[in-house]
Structures are given as C-alpha cells and as structure tokens.
C-alpha cells in the first residue's frame, strides 16, 4: 500500500489541509463540554442569565466555525481521494501496458480487470475516509484525555487506562480481519471469473446444455464468498459491542471516582458532568474510528493487491535504441542465431536450435503441425518474448538493443485471433499509423481484400465496430486486421496464420497483392496451408519445436519428409 501513496503527492496541499481543517473542527468541539461546565457551575449556580446567554452564543459560534472547517475539509479530501484514484488508475493501466507477454500470461486478464476497477474504487473510499477521519478521531480521543487532565489529574488517570485498552481491542480486531478481507477478495475474483467465462462461452455452454451445471458451480463459488464475508462480518461486528462495554464501564468508574473527588472537595459537580461528556465523546469517535478501520482494512488489502501488480516488472529490459545508419547497409532483414525459447509455465523449450537468415524483401513461409512452435518463432521477432538461448537480429542488430517502439515500428503483425476494437473502422485502421490518410487506409484495405465489404457498410470508414468486432464475420475481421497491419507500411510483415478464415480465392488474391506492394516488405507467412506458402522464397518446416527443413518448395518436396507429408495431405499426389 505504501508505494501507492506517492500518487497522493500531487495532492499534498489537499491531503494536508483536509485533516488540518478536520482537526480545527475537532478542537472547537472539545471546547463544548467546558462551555457547558461553565454554564452549570457559573450560570446555574449563581443564577446568572446573561452568562448563560453569552455561553449559548459561544456554542453557536463554535458550531458555525465547525461547519465551515468541516465542509472545507470534505472538499479537500474528496478532491485528493478522487484525484489519487484517477492517478493510480492511470498508473496501473499504463503499467499493465508495459508488461511483457510472459507476465500477462502469468497474471491473467480478469485479475487485471478487478484490480483496475473495484480494487481502486475501494482504495479511493479508504483514502477519502482516512483524510477525513483518521486524524480527527485520535485527535478527539487524546484531546479529550488532555482536557480531562486540565480538570482533574486523578480522574484523568481513568482515561489513561481506558484509551490503550480500546486501542488494543480496535487494532486486535483489525489485525485479525485484514488477512480475511484478502480472502474475501479472492472469492470475489473467483465469482468474477465464472461470470466472465459464462459470457464468453455462452454458445458452447448452451450447446452442451451446461447451464444448470454452470449455475451450480456459480452457486458454490457464490456461497463460498458469502460464507467468507459472513465470517469476517462476525468478527468485525465485535468491535462496537466491545468498545461500548469498555467506555461505559469507564464511565461507571469515572462517576465513582468523581463522587470521591467531589466529596473531598477537589472538583465540582459541573466538572464531573464535563468528564462524563468527554468520555462519551470518545465513544462517539471510537465508533467512527471502528467503522473507519473496517474501511481501511479493506482498502489496504485492495491497495496491496494493486501494488503487487505494480511490483511485477517486465522481465524484459528495453534496449537503448539503434542508430538508423547501422542497420541500413545490412544484407539480412532477420537472422535467427541458434535460438531456443522456453515459456515460463511450460517445462520443455517450445523451440530450440532455430537458425536461419532472411534477406530484405524475401517472403518466408513457416509451416508445421499444431504446437510445433510456429507462433513462438514469430513472436520473437518483435520481441514479445525473449529468447532463452541464442539471439534474434533485425537489420543486423540484436532485438534487445532496440527500443520497443523502434523495433515494433518496423513490424506489422496480423495475429492469429482477429480482434478489432470498439470505434469506427477508421479508428481501427489508424492503430497502425496515427496520421494515416483515408487514401492510405483505402489502399491498405484494397490490398487486404477488405475494401469491397467496407464500401457496402453504412458510413464506410465511419461504420461502427462493436467491442471485439462482434458485428463482423470471422473472415471480415481477419481482412480488417490484415489491412490494419498494412496501413503501417511495415518493413517486416508477419501473418500469423491470419488467413485461416478466408476462402482460398481471397487468400490467393491477398498474397498476390502483398507481393505487389511498393514498399517491398520482408514477409513472414505462418500457415498450415501448403498453398499459402508454396511460392515463398524460403520455407521453414517445423516439427515439434525444431527445424525439420529449410528451403524452397521444390527442394523441400524432394528432401524433407515432414514437408512431403504436409503437402500431400493437401494436394493429391498427381499434382506434384
């Protein structure tokens, strides 16, 4: 939690002023019992009406000052808390964006989403409450004690015993419940996961009529959550009754001591009343403090969870950047030098011993069975993952020397899963290049075979894309994602099995148009269709994470057994 507090630093003024005004309000409140004691001991005892009226005016004045201070404090604390939350949200969002693929695989999407939403809200409430009350309450508690000392030292000793006792109870309950709140949040995460899963998998769940079972599963998780919540609730419910007992027993003792002190003539009746008032004031504040502590425990738990995400740093160190001149004269666009790569979660390396060179403008086909490591290889080029052994060079420079931006600027990627984002088609296309003109977009669309259906859309480039691109078919989405990569006019274009939803005719046209591109990019095509890579300058055949053969179609068909098998599974032998 502590590290999050740096985000309050822009609100230093607010976070100082809020408690300060609260304390001002509180200190005026502390005068009230004294004024009342004076009414009793001076006003009533002497029958002095003017004194009573004067004191009454004093009370009202105190109230007005209190109100002003308090509203000022509320404003500053709301401003600081809300601003703080906005800053944390911003920081967390940008932090998550800086994480590498490995870390994101590790954390999981729904965890990141809860951290961004409900956890931050909880922290916001916590900060707001702390600024408002956390100083005020202890101040009143100790203030009341000090005031008691000014009245009578012996009676004040009761305060000295009572307050630590209360502190022990309050903090004891707090210590017990903090870890429990963590568990509650975990239960909530579980419930969230099931909900999300049922939304994304609604078709499959219904096809297998698993609704009842899923509901049952949800019921279980929901029940676990409820049980946890109630358990924590029962413990924190102890707070009020226990503090009530302590305070009131203290009042009983106070009256008895007061009686003794009055009997011996050390204090007056009015002063006993004032002492009792101070004790009641402590109770009122403690109730607030107790509620506050519950809020704080929750917030701290949430804050720690947010922080734990903030503490996950990308295992990848960004390079310092590469001089453009160094790379221009290089023959090879991409070189893999004896590369091996192991995912964090998986045991065996996903690929190993990968060694190949690609010249500028060449087209490389990567083919191989499911899970043979095709995607892994191309994920290494834009440095989404780091190699475990060997190195990857782009334009003669180690990818680890580039800045992320510098490296990824060169590369256009069409991922396996076609995802579009909410907005217009134009918005989506501009992902590749912020300042792309409509002309450039249309050109990319034409290349990607997407212009035809986009032209039929209402609003054309302004047509709405719903979240995830749900209002487009799989093939349309794929073509748009291809166009998105082309808008960028990349030096290296990577198509990660991204024509799978296209029919053969469109696929063929697409490849042709890419070949005709003026910028003559180096192209990597990952595919399972032999037809898609047949005409590549180089074909890399993968089998179980290792290279089974590299060469042209003809040479592979002659020498590479794996390639032959793949090829003939798609084309009848007679055509070979």
């Amino acid at each position: 939690m502590r590290k999050l507090l740096v985000y309050l630093k822009d609100y230093k003024k607010e976070s100082l002023l809020a408690p300060l005004f609260k304390m001002l309000e509180a200190s005026f409140e502390l005068f009230v019992p004294l004024v009342m004691a004076s009414i009793i001991d001076v006003g009533i005892a002497n029958g002095d009406r003017t004194h009573i009226m004067k004191m009454c005016g004093m009370l009202i004045l105190l109230a007005v000052i209190g109100l002003t201070c308090s509203i000022t404090a509320q404003y500053f604390s709301a401003k600081a808390a809300v601003g703080f939350a906005a800053k944390v949200r911003h920081a967390l969002f940008s932090h998550i964006q800086s994480l590498s693929y490995s870390e994101m695989d590790e954390i999981g999407t729904s965890t990141m989403i809860t951290r961004m939403t409900s956890d931050i809200n909880q922290v916001q409430t916590g900060v707001n409450m702390v600024l408002r009350l956390f100083l005020r309450s202890p101040f009143i508690v100790f203030g009341a004690m000090i005031m008691a000392f000014t009245i009578d030292v012996k009676a004040a000793l009761i305060f000295v015993v009572t307050i630590p006792l209360l502190a022990i109870v309050v903090f004891g309950i707090m210590l017990v419940s903090i870890p429990l709140y963590k568990k509650v949040q975990g239960g909530l995460d579980d419930v969230l996961l099931t909900t999300r899963e049922n939304l994304t998998g609604s078709r499959v769940i219904r096809a297998f009529h698993k609704e009842k079972e899923e509901t049952e599963k949800f019921r279980e998780k929901n029940q676990t959550l409820t049980a946890l919540q109630m358990f924590v609730g029962r413990i924190s419910a102890l707070m009020n009754p226990v503090t009530y007992i302590i305070i009131n027993v203290a009042i009983v003792v106070l009256i008895w001591t007061g009686a003794l002190r009055v009997e011996s003539g050390n204090i007056t009746q009015g002063e006993v009343v004032a002492l009792v008032n101070y004790m009641s004031q402590i109770l009122v504040e403690l109730v607030k403090l107790a509620n506050l502590i519950i809020t704080i425990t929750k917030s701290v738990a949430c804050g720690n969870r947010i922080e734990s995400i903030m503490e996950i740093h990308s295992t990848m160190k960004e390079g310092l950047g590469v001089e453009a001149a160094d790379s221009k004269n290089e023959d090879y666009a991409v070189v893999f030098e004896n590369v091996a790569m192991r995912y964090q979660s998986g045991g065996a390396p996903a690929v190993s011993g990968i060694d190949f060179k690609v010249r500028h403008g060449e087209t490389v086909g990567i083919i191989g069975g499911t899970g043979s490591g095709k995607s892994t290889i191309i994920n290494l080029i834009p440095r989404f993952y780091d190699t475990s052994e060997g190195r990857v060079l782009v334009d003669g420079q180690d990818v680890r020397d580039y800045t992320f931006e510098g490296l990824r600027d060169k590369i256009g990627i069409v991922p396996q899963k076609a995802v579009l984002f909410a907005g217009t088609i134009r918005d989506n296309m501009k992902w590749g290049k912020q300042d792309a003109t409509d002309e450039a977009i249309w050109e990319a669309m034409t290349l990607a075979q997407a212009s035809e259906f986009v032209e039929q859309k209402d609003g054309r480039l302004d047509a709405e894309v719903e979240q995830g691109g749900r209002n487009f078919s799989g093939g349309q989405k794929q073509r748009l994602t291809i166009a998105r990569a082309l808008v960028k006019q990349p030096e290296i274009l990577i198509l990660d099995d991204s024509a799978s939803a296209l029919d053969y005719a469109t696929d063929a046209k697409l490849r042709q148009s890419i070949r005709s591109m003026k910028s003559d990019p180096t192209v990597f095509i990952v595919s399972q269709r032999a037809a898609s890579i047949l005409h590549a300058d180089q074909i890399i055949v993968l089998d179980d994470g290792a290279v089974a053969g590299i060469g042209t179609h003809e040479s592979l068909l002659r020498d590479c057994e794996v390639y032959q098998e793949i090829y003939y599974s798609q084309f009848q032998k007679k055509e070979a």
Partner: protein, 587 residues
C-alpha cells in the same frame, strides 16, 4: 424537469420495492434485528438517566450519597453488558441478511445470464455485464449493510429518545423537536441532488470498465501495434470524466454529515440554554440537565446516520437498478408448455421458407429452403460473410427465425425443448472456448459420466492425446481462463475430443479444423469420417478438401443458396464453386 424528477423517484421506489422482495425471505433475521435494535437502544437511552441520577447524588463537598450511587452504578453495569450482547447479535443478523440477499441477487443475475438470448450477449459488452454482476452488487452490499445496521437503530433511537425526554421535561423536549426537522430537510435536499450524480458516476464507471476489458483483454495486440499511448489517452479521457463526476458525487454527498452535525450543535446549544434557564428556576436538576445534554447528542446523531445511510442507500439503489436491468432483461423465448423432448432423432432436417436478419434493416437470409435426409453430410461453402455461421445459429436455435420454420425429425424446433434439440447436435466452432479447469473436465463436458478409457479413446481419435500427455499433469493439467497457454490448434483439438466423446446424433462443424495443421487434420478426418457415418452433419469449411466428400454442397452467397449439388456436379457446372475450387491452386 419536474417530470423527469418524478420519474426518477418512481424508478427509485420501484427499485426499492424489488430489493424489499429479496429481503422478505429473511424476515426472521429482520424481525430479530429490529427487536434487538429496540432492546439495545432502550437500554442505551436508559443509561444517561442513571448517570444523571448518579450525578444528582454528587452535589458538592461532603454532600455525596455513596450508597445510592453504588446501587445505581451496579445497575448500570448489568445494563451495559446486556446492551453489548444485543448489539453483537444484531450485527450478526444484519450481516447474515445482507450477504444472503446479495448472494441471491448475484445468483439470479447469473442465472439470467445463462438464459439471456444470444442476441443480447452478442450486442452488449461483457465488461459492462461483469461490472454489474461484480462491482455493482458489491457496492450494493455495502450500502445495504450500512442501511440495516444504522437505519433501525437510528429510527428507534429517535423515537426512544423523544419518549425519554418527554418523561423528564416537556418544554426542553420541545426545543429539541422544533430544531431537528431542519436536519431532515438538509439531508433530504442533498440526497436528492446527489442521486443523479451517483448515477452519472456509475455510468461512466461502466464505460471505463468496458474499455479496460477491451484493452487489457487484448493487451497483446495493443502492444504489437504500439498502441499503448493511444489506449492510455482514451483511458485518460474517460478517467478524467470519471474523476470529475466522482468528485462531484462524493463531495456533495459528504456535505450531509457536517450539515447535520451543525444542526446538532444548534440543538445542543438550545438544550443548554433552555435547560440552564429552567434549572435556575428549579425546573430540573443538574443531573437531569446532563442527561438531557447526552440525549440531545443521541437524538441528533441518528439523524446524521440516517442521512448518511440515505446517501449510501441512494448509491446502493443506483447500483441495484443496474443489476435489476439485467435480471429483468427479456429471457430467451420460453419453451412451449408442451415442448417435446426430442428422443428418437432420425437426423432429418428441413428448413422451410426461412427468413432471418440480425437487424431489420439489413436482410440476410431470405426464403431459405433445404431438405436434409438422415445421415447426409451437408457442406456449406461460400465467401466470408455469406451467412454460413448464421445458419448454424439458427439450427442450434441460438437465434430464432423471423419467419418460416426448421424441423428436426419432423418436429418444428420451436416446439422442442432447447436442451434436447441442442444435445442432439455436436458442435465444434472455429472460435474455441474452453473453461477453466482440468483437461479432463473439458473433454468430458458433454458426457460427465464417461470412463477413463472412453475419454482417452476420444482424445486419441482427435489426436489430442499425445500433446495432452506431454503437459505437466497430463489429463489433470489445469488450463487457465479461455484455454490459457494452449495454442489455438490445441484448443481446437480439445473441442473436437469433446464432441467425439459425446457423440450426438447430428454434427455441426464450423471451421472445426481451421487452426489444425493439415497433417493432423488428415488423420482426424478419418476419425471424423467414422463419426459422421450415419450422422447428419453440417460442415462449414474453407478447405475444399474437407468438403469434397459431402452429399450436398451448399454454395452460399449473401444469404442465398446459389448452387447446390455434390462435388462432381458442381465442378461440371463450372459456376461459382468451380472458380472457388480452382482458386486454391492459384499462384
């Protein structure tokens, strides 16, 4: 303006009555809680009287009646103990009630999700729905709990204090009664002002959650395109708005407390003056005045709390309203009362004059007719976006036809139970979906009572067995959300194994092997072929090799069938299919 206000109030009332319906089930705890609240409040109120009495026995030096004081103090001790116990039990009751109500609401929302028409799910952002079921419900719980714990005690304290005060002195009570309503007016005014602010905050929050869901859910693409800055910019824009709305909502609602506290202080001053004056005239004793002062504090404190609770409840109601929106969303068309359970599936499927479109203004499928005989293999080909997937949506009854009907085994599917219709199809979709759990759970999804041998046989048939055994824990490996670290192809193999195990009488394969390499695919084909034998199957595929052996090939374009026949017939025809087929060998 007044009208919208009225409407808003109406809506709030409506939401409230719905919440009350959920609470009704736990009336026992509610009643117990109220009784205990009454007990603890009355005893709490009695305490100041005793304190006052005790103080009256402490008059001055040498004028203290220790015996009477001791008796009073002993009484106080007993009362304190009883109060504390009553308070604790009350808190526990409230906890129980709140968390059960919340559990029920969440459960109902979830059940609703299971029964919402797919058209709703397809057109609403998941992030928003999730935010309602999780964050809104959570916030609602907080509000409700606060309501329960403080509302009753608050109300009872007010009534109780009033009675006790009246029993001591009528005039001073009047002072209190006259000033306090101000507190209500102020609190009510603020609450009314803040409700719409909270709602605005809630809406903006939903918007932000949707963006977070989208961007973080697809973080890898965001990074690949170096779109982090733009995403952050958009995020910041919403974040800025949220900050503004939240500040307003929080600040204005937080004025309530100081304002009512101010009125408290006025009451306190009023009681002080009136009490002191009447004490001079001998109307009341100093002890009674002290008792009154502590009442004045206690009397107004619940007003504070109630008004605090009111704002909190407003917020809670705004959240509840958003949850109820989901709960009350129109579910899938109910099954007919006498819906038939499809038992003997012969596998014939008839589509008669089917019309369908997702949006009325864009016609998609028009006058679609198809007759599939039992055991036939139907392949559907056509350019992307021609309506292939839509056809499957209709067959599975994920969507209902606009007009015309679909018959399975001679029964119109609208007249069948959804469960029996859907379970007679085995479906493998292009978009693979796996649930979080073990590989075993995922494969046996369609047939939970399958034996180990059956499951392994299915996995072997779909060529998933070898990669599964290479996973750290084999079949018991837990895979994460949406397949986690598995590749698309591996996920697809698991989806195929799932269907191979369930072996329903009809099959739908929508691009079932699009992510699987052809070598493996060809091996699976033989298993598919075995599986399809005697089963009516619908196959959507781009790879024409998959389709060649179909009995009927439907060539679709723009929602219509433009060609129909088997492979040879269509090739001979030299039409659209012919071009499509030849294009795969093109350069």
């Amino acid at each position: 303006m007044a009208q919208t206000q009225n409407k808003k109030r109406e809506k709030q009332k409506d939401t409230l009555s719905k919440v009350l319906r959920y609470i009704k089930k736990y009336w026992f705890y509610l009643v117990l809680s109220i009784i205990l609240a009454a007990v603890s409040v009355v005893l709490t109120l009695y305490l100041p009287i005793l304190t006052g009495d005790a103080i009256d026995y402490i008059i001055g030096k040498g004028q203290v009646d220790f015996a009477s004081i001791f008796a009073i103090l002993r009484k106080m001790a007993v009362i304190i103990l009883i109060t504390a116990v009553a308070q604790w039990i009350m808190n526990v009751c409230n906890n129980r009630m709140t968390y059960h109500v919340v559990r029920d609401i969440r459960m109902e929302a979830f059940e609703k999700i299971e029964h919402l028409p797919l058209s709703y799910l397809d057109s609403n952002s998941y992030g928003d729905i999730v935010s309602r079921v999780i964050a809104d419900v959570d916030q609602f719980a907080d509000g409700l709990l606060m309501g329960f714990t403080q509302f009753f005690t608050g109300v009872i304290t007010i009534i109780g204090t009033l009675l006790f005060m009246l029993s001591v002195n009528v005039k001073i009570t009047l002072v209190v009664v006259l000033i306090t309503p101000l507190s209500f007016v102020v609190a009510g005014f603020i609450a009314k002002k803040t409700f719409s602010m909270f709602q605005l905050q809630s809406v903006t929050r939903g918007e932000q959650t949707a963006l977070i869901d989208e961007m973080i859910g697809n973080q890898k693409i965001v990074q690949a395109f170096g779109h982090e800055d733009e995403a952050l910019e958009k995020f910041d824009e919403i974040n800025g708005r949220l900050e503004k709305y939240s500040l307003r909502a929080i600040f204005f609602s937080s004025i309530t407390n100081p304002s009512t506290r101010f009125i408290n202080s006025l009451v306190y001053a009023g009681v002080g003056v009136a009490g002191a004056l009447s004490a001079i005239m001998g109307g009341i004793s100093v002890g009674q005045l002290s008792c009154f002062l502590s009442y004045a504090n206690q009397y107004t404190k619940p007003f504070n709390e109630i008004s605090g609770v009111v704002t909190e409840l407003q917020n809670a109601l705004a959240c509840a309203a958003r949850i109820f929106e989901i709960i009350e969303e129109e579910p899938e068309v109910a099954e007919d009362e006498d819906a038939v359970v499809l038992e003997q599936v012969d596998g014939s499927v008839d589509l008669k004059h089917v019309y369908f479109s997702y949006t009325p203004d864009r016609k998609l499928i028009e006058d679609f007719n198809l007759n599939v005989k039992p055991g036939q293999r139907v392949a559907i080909v056509g350019p992307t976006g021609c309506g292939k997937t839509t056809l499957i949506n209709l067959l599975m009854r994920f969507y209902d036809t606009d007009s015309g009907e679909i018959l399975v085994s001679g029964e119109p599917i609208r007249h069948l139970t959804r469960e029996s219709l859907r379970s007679s199809y085995g479906m493998v979709l292009q978009e693979t979906w796996l649930k979080q759990g073990t590989i075993r759970e995922n494969i046996t999804m369609g047939k939970p009572d399958a034996t180990e041998e059956e499951m392994i046989a299915a996995a072997k048939a779909s060529h998933a067995h070898s990669f599964i055994t290479r996973l750290p824990h084999g079949y018991d490996t837990v895979i994460g959300e949406d397949g986690g670290s598995l590749s698309q192809g591996q996920k697809q193999l698991l989806c195929i194994a799932r269907v191979m195990l369930a072996l329903p009488p009809m099959l739908i394969l929508d691009e079932a092997t699009s992510s699987i390499d052809t070598r493996t695919e060809q091996r699976i084909q033989s298993a598919f072929a075995k599986m399809m034998k005697g089963r009516t199957s619908f196959i959507v595929a781009h790879r024409l090799s998959t389709i060649q052996e179909a009995d009927i090939i439907l060539v679709m374009k723009d929602g219509h069938i433009i060609e129909q026949g088997n492979h040879e017939e269509l090739l001979a025809k030299g039409g659209f299919y012919y071009n499509l087929y030849n294009s795969q060998f093109a350069k």
